[in-house]
């Protein structure tokens, strides 16, 4: 590599880069510490992300255009086919819905008999994914609805099959979502057949969650459905999470090792909605 002849080398020139490096290391260490402690960097991030949004948008443009194009270029026959299938599915769902009305009314009556009915208003906000985290050890996605659309930190996110995660950072025009499969994520759950409550931890693997707190005399079996328990107040109650894929009893351990496979396909997420729960007083 030839040195540019126009560039003069002055070895005795005063050079502050070492001091700058020390300064940067100190500043970024403080920032990182603040970030792990939920300090003021959360607010800082919210404001700074306004500048980051256009870059995210442009960077995801090729993928989104490609998807749009392939949608537009798909053949007419397949679209008609899909339409037919969707209509059938719609009729099926509607017929199931009729039953839900009945159940809902019955449920309300029973609650009234008990004298306590939490009047919950759930708001569903439809959203699209604009970015997925490029790093395999961070299971995060970004959606196109932000605090300007009324998304708050802690709102639960679901896709047509089940819960996928919750909002951890609300930027102004978009928000970041931590998926339930992330290593740092834990979700309070209830096993439907036994009624046992536990916490399911993410493992970093998209198809596996773990429950580590059930005793060996638990009746949980493979294939049991798992729903959110609503404890802790972050996730709404009764949404499907996944089903138990493995129950193992380890000799000498006093807890069962239970694995869970989420209902939602976390690797290919398409449409999602934000579930906003408003508890309106005690009526």
């Amino acid at each position: 590599m030839a040195i540019n002849p126009g560039q003069r080398i002055n070895r005795y020139e005063k050079n502050y880069s070492s001091y700058r490096l020390i300064f940067v290391i100190i500043v970024s260490s403080i920032l990182m510490y603040q970030d792990t402690q939920d300090g003021y960097s959360k607010t800082l991030r919210t404001y700074l992300s306004v500048f980051a949004y256009p870059i995210t948008y442009v960077a995801n443009l090729p993928k989104n255009t490609f998807q749009g194009l392939s949608l537009r270029l798909s053949e007419r026959a397949s679209i008609i086919n899909e339409n037919k299938k969707l209509k059938e599915e719609n009729i099926l769902l509607k017929s199931q819905l009729q039953e839900v009305y009945k159940l809902d009314a019955e449920n309300k009556r029973l609650y009234e008999l008990l004298g306590s009915y939490p009047d919950r208003q759930r708001n569903f906000l439809f959203a699209d994914i604009i970015a997925t985290s490029p790093s395999p050890d961070k299971r995060q996605i970004t959606i196109n609805k932000g605090s300007i659309d009324g998304v708050n930190i802690g709102d639960a996110i679901a896709d047509p099959y089940g819960i996928i995660g919750h909002v951890i950072r609300d930027q102004v025009f978009s928000s970041e979502i931590l998926l339930i499969a992330d290593l740092e994520h834990a979700i309070p759950i209830e096993i439907t057949s036994t009624g046992e409550r536990a916490i399911a931890y993410g493992t970093g693997d998209m198809n596996r969650l773990e429950i580590r707190s059930l005793p060996p005399n638990s009746k949980a079996k493979k294939g049991n459905a798992v729903i959110t328990s609503g404890l802790g107040g972050r996730y709404p109650e009764g949404f499907p999470v996944g089903e138990i894929s493995r129950v193992e009893r380890i000799e000498g351990e006093n807890l069962l090792a239970i694995e869970l496979s989420p209902f939602a396909n976390l690797e290919v997420i398409n449409e999602i909605w934000v579930i906003q729960t408003e508890v309106s007083g005690d009526e």
Binding site: I3, S29, T36, I55, A59, P134, K138
Partner: protein
């Protein structure tokens, strides 16, 4: 347009472009592979054209990358500034190396960056060894000669000495 502003526009355009390339989602086939274009560009400017890129500039582009990737705020800032400092410090030695040796140096710098990242993740409580990360580093080092030639060509066109 003055020389300084012209060069500034050039370098920040390249940095933004590489940032976008870094966070751009790749097809399913490349799952987990993420090439650190920004780190490569920082190494290039720190070695070849010191007047365009310093420790502070590298750390601010790292901060932007942290925002975009949703990681710890400051992680990439730290890594990129260390990489920039090291390649700046040894620029006289590195510049005279043949291409393949610069490639090895790049491999070392990127690996060191990833090591710092692993340390930081260890401190903040989650360590997951991802094989794809190290694959990405090797691929990035292999891409380096082409990347360097391209940036040099661009630099000859747009940067005024």
């Amino acid at each position: 347009m003055s020389r300084k502003i012209n060069n500034l526009i050039f370098v920040w355009f390249i940095m933004l472009l590489t940032t976008m390339m870094t966070i751009m989602p790749l097809p399913e086939f490349f799952y987990g592979i993420r090439i650190e274009w920004v780190a490569l560009a920082v190494i290039f400017f720190s070695i070849m054209n010191v007047s365009l890129m310093g420790v502070i500039a590298a750390s601010s582009i790292g901060l932007l990358l942290d925002l975009l990737q949703g990681g710890l705020l400051g992680e990439n800032a730290l890594i990129l500034s260390v990489i920039s400092y090291l390649s700046y410090r040894f620029r006289f030695q590195i510049r005279v190396y043949p291409d393949w040796q610069i490639m090895v140096v790049t491999l070392f710098l990127l690996s060191f960056g990833n090591l710092i990242s692993l340390w930081i993740r260890g401190f903040s409580g989650q360590v997951l060894f991802v094989t794809e990360e190290w694959f990405s580093i090797i691929i990035a080092a292999l891409i380096w000669p082409i990347f360097m030639r391209m940036l040099q060509t661009l630099q000859n066109y747009f940067v005024e000495e």
